[in-house]
Symmetry: C2
Subunit: 392 residues, 2 copies
């Protein structure tokens, strides 16, 4: 919103998806006067319709539910869709936006993690860009401009098609970067929620502590840029000054540096292939003491599991994401220990046969199945061992 | 040569300029069997002709002098010319290569410093690239691919044409980065020749100590990328890991990192716009403790003089380069002190009226004039004060 506000001549809000926050929905309907606005529940939609009629704004169409979100994402007056609904809820609308030939900016992580193959294949078919709205993938997108890469081609080992050797995905390392492995079994919820750098939601904070969040980003990079997981390397860089890097076949590396502010990738995505002036300036004086080290996979098995899922693809990434969400919730409720998170995910992944994805509906069905299975595994584990303490 | 050797299917040596080293010229004539090879002196050429006839290679044409170098640079079978002759000697051949529609790789610094306006204007007219073969400008060239920039347009303040906000030219800082200004007057030749990072020729080592070398690079960047000097900022970065950076109007910065090996920019220039695989790998483990600070213009007035010359252009950059060469020679012979170098250059620049460049012949004539003037200024200064000690 603040990006659109800053450049009123350039962007207009045509439609909006507002979830359950009816107060904010009303405010934004009055502010932006969109053609269509969607809410999650029909009763909220009815109330908002009445209020807008009272304010003399009956022309704003208020819709509800999943069908409403799809309507918002595929409206004929929309050129660019920002997909930012958290979780698998945004999946269908994002896929339909791509299918309707919209340019899509992806702020939602799950879209690429659980249905990346379907969404990127459709975007290629449409010849429309999928633009990442998160600092790492946006940085990679920028660095990739330094060399040729045909993301439509699968033969990633042919240098004539793809001049990219490796993608270096930087990771802050999370709060347990320097914690000895022996202490991992006794990590408490409070310790894990105490992220040193960013303030975020609870699930993503735990995912940052286990490096699963970086694992999801590996999968996203594989899908978005059509590269196999062995060409995506995670590198721990606690200062998070360099948002990611690309190494080309000739040995040159391009790195992207900027302030850490989501408005920058949003602006980049909205204006691509152009760049427009902003006041989001990085102070070059902050460029000092950059540290880098490889991640310790034995301390962070979630990252290894994500690499495995990235390679196998399809149903495996659905199992990974669903099991992680369930396991993290169980950890937050102190039902399982920190080291149980990867164990539960591993078990759910092993029990999920590797298959290709057929449709978004199938993805959603498999996601539900994997969650149920993960909850069973959590229960089983609680029967076998007590929480917090190590079990292996 | 080693780059061409590594990719025999891709590159061939069509012609060669060999200077005065007849032994190496013979060896390379036999190894590469060029169509034409030039030497500086006619007597050396005659000798080489005889030797090659004796070896059964009479078809290699041996030429001499400035006309010979031009023949080598403009031969119809040549696609790409590497301009690496040191000093103004390479000027005419480089200009003629551009005029003949060749793609030119620039390893010679003087070409852009003293005749940049003429050479780049001609390259634009021909629609052929001028590719920098030095780590800083090559890095900038790579980073610039991350945004749009029309180097043919002069209106650099129009973001719609040029998305580049600033070029960050990194500098090692030279041996006197941490030396207090008060000690500059007593810097000896030996101290100045003791460069901490690179082993180079004497003039360039002194130019690195005064930061004049970086000043020349500012001028080169202005000419090559058609940007005013205020958009080129020098930043001291002692580790020289990042070879340079480009900051775009949206606030994103792209930085180039690679091993410091001239084969990389040569390969880049030869294959541009493609990249081909090399084994010149940067070890990501070396990416640590990068320091940056602004240059101290009061300690390094040569850098300020170069900025002035870059802005005024034309005859001023000729005066800058010629006076620097003369002043550095005088310093090396202990005729003047370290702090006299910028004073002499300033005096010669002030005495040179600012005019646009008309032709390469005019550039060469002005270069000779400026050198004579600089020698006079050195003599004058020696009369007024004793060497080494401060004079001001």
């Amino acid at each position: 919103m603040s990006v659109v506000e800053r450049y009123p001549d350039r962007f207009q809000i045509a439609t909006l998806a507002a979830g359950t926050n009816t107060e904010l929905a009303l405010e934004q309907a009055v502010r932006w006067k969109p053609r269509v606005l969607s809410l999650e529940r029909e009763q909220d939609a009815a109330m908002l319709r009445a209020k807008l009629r009272g304010l003399g704004l009956p022309e704003i169409e208020i819709v509800a539910g999943a069908a409403g979100t799809v309507k918002v994402a595929t409206h004929p007056e929309v050129d660019f869709v920002v997909s930012a609904i958290v979780g698998v809820a945004g999946l269908e609308a994002t896929y339909e936006a791509v299918r309707a030939g919209k340019s899509v900016g992806l702020a939602n992580k799950e879209c690429l993690v659980v249905a990346g193959e379907l969404i990127t294949a459709e975007a290629r078919r449409q010849g429309k860009p999928l633009l990442p709205i998160d600092s790492e993938h946006n940085a990679i997108h920028q660095c990739l401009r330094g060399g040729r890469m045909d993301t439509n081609k699968d033969n990633n080992d042919d240098d004539r098609v793809n001049e990219v050797d490796r993608i270096w995905l930087t990771a802050s390392g999370g709060p347990f970067l320097h914690t000895p492995k022996a202490e991992f079994a006794s990590i408490t919820v409070q310790q894990a929620l105490n992220h040193p750098t960013w303030k975020m939601g609870k699930r993503i904070t735990i995912d940052s502590a286990t490096l699963m969040n970086k694992g999801f980003e590996v999968i996203e990079a594989c899908r978005l840029f059509n590269v196999p997981p062995e060409r995506v390397q995670v590198i721990v860089h606690p200062q998070s000054t360099i948002h990611s890097m690309v190494e080309f076949v000739d040995g040159s590396i391009l790195a992207q540096i900027s302030v850490t502010d989501m408005r920058l990738p949003i602006l980049y995505a909205l204006t691509y292939p152009e760049r427009i002036r902003s006041d989001l300036r990085f102070s070059i004086g902050d460029l000092r003491h950059l540290d880098f080290c490889p991640p310790d996979m034995s301390k962070f098995p979630c990252l290894a599991l994500a690499y495995e899922a990235a390679g196998k693809g399809g149903t495996k990434t659905i199992a990974l994401n669903a099991a992680d969400e369930v396991a993290v919730a169980a950890f937050l409720e102190e039902q399982i220990g920190f080291e149980d998170i990867p164990r539960i995910i591993e078990e759910v992944m092993a029990a999920t046969p590797a298959r290709q994805l057929e449709s978004i509906q199938k993805v959603l069905a498999l996601d539900t199945e994997a969650r149920l299975l993960a909850k069973e595994v959590v229960k089983e584990r609680r029967r076998k061992g007590s929480p917090i303490r190590a079990i292996s």
